[in-house]
Amino acid sequence: MQRHWSLLQTAAANLAANSRVYGVASAGLFVALALLLAGIAISEGLKAQAVDAVAGGANVYCTWDTFGRDGPVPIDQVPALQKIDGVVRVVPRIIGRLALGERMVVVVGVPFEELLREPFPLEGRLPSSGAEVLVGREIAQELGLVTGQRVALESALLRVFTISGIFTSTSSLWSARVVVCDLGEAAALFGEEKRVSDVCLFTRPGYEPSVAEAVLRIDPRFRVQTQALVRGYVLRGMTLREGIFTVLWAMALALAIPASAMFGHLGHSPRRREIGLLKAEGWRTADVLEMVALENLFVSLLCACGAMIFAFVWVRLLRAPLIAPFFIAELPLFPSLSIPARFLPLPLVLSFVFSLVVTMTGSIYFTWRTAITRPADNLR
């Protein structure tokens, strides 16, 4: 046991003495791990928030079959949906897209009474009439919008609205570029008085499947998605995608193996002489290998755990500057809202294993070859 402890101390001393060399050798590994951990954390955060969003949303979503695709629902179908047993609330919506200044925004039109249902985390206040709108954080920052300012939205016709509130920086990612307004105003804006994008049905607990079936009985042209169905798709789709991302990144990490080997061992003649000296002093090959393995253990721990802390500060505290649009479409380089992220133990463990594989692959074979060579040849 004493021998292993001595080797551990020697490895630590070696690492401290050659910290610059090891720093350069593991820089590539550190950066790759930090990006990998940030990516997985954002993906996990998005997944968690999407599941939360599904749970917070309606129980049944109805659109209209149009040429085999989702289309708008005729407004005259809405009263029939209200009469279905188990339905407690019906929210017809218009979800559209138009330009505000030079930016594209999502316009969400919901009945005015829905907007007043409960208080939002807002800067400003809730709309007091149909002439007022709520605006997303990012779009407000990009266009320099403030509460009380008037904005013109133009689609089928031009309407001027007053901004009553701006979503706070801790609000959701999906409210970043939205304009929320009254349903009637949205209908007038898009020139679609007789159709809505979809209809959301809130049901009593346990009524979701029967309501979905009842909707299809009213008219088979309805296309229906239940909360359970959407939740399943979100979990399945995002987990699959995250797996693909991790595999691609693992391939990129493999490039760190030659980098680590080149800087740390293969091209580093002092290291060869050091091993020659240790052998000349009577060290066994197993001792040399154990010492190098312990050095790798330190490097891997520092790389993986350091990358974790770096990724956390970068994503959670600094809001992922420079990399946010790489992971989430339509975000600026310096987002002003919190990025959903969740740091889990498994990616950290995997990062440590990746690091260990990279550093071991780059050093153990070379160390063994050097350790079995005559010390005189290594010292030459």
């Binding site: 919506r93 755990c305 740091f343």
Partner: protein, 104 residues
């Protein structure tokens, strides 16, 4: 001198490992989203902050597949720069479902 540096490194490694492990098990709150979702009926699922190119990536409930697959060349390649490029893309919702009825 060498022992002192080695001890410092051991302590540093221990601190870094303990801090990162602590961060993993710390459940920091996600952005407050429930009110927005309840009031709007639920909007936003995917890895996009807006629907500039496609509603599918923004919220697959409002559009079950990417509109860029049907425009400008129907059935051609998808021109959206974000399709398959983000960290958490959404696959089309149930591509095998019959045109009607949608729910099974």
């Amino acid at each position: 001198m060498s022992n002192r540096r080695a001890s410092r490194l051991l302590v540093l490694t221990g601190l870094v490992a303990a801090s990162s492990a602590g961060l993993c098990f710390w459940r920091s709150p996600l952005p407050d989203d429930r009110t927005f979702q309840r009031v709007t009926g639920g909007i936003g699922l995917g890895a996009a902050a807006s629907a500039t190119w496609s509603f599918h990536l923004y919220d697959a409930r409002t559009e079950s597949s990417c509109e860029n697959e049907m425009w400008p060349i129907p059935g051609g390649i998808c021109f959206s720069p974000y399709h398959g490029a983000t960290v958490a893309d959404m696959s089309p919702l149930d591509p095998h479902r019959p045109p009607r009825p949608a729910h099974r």
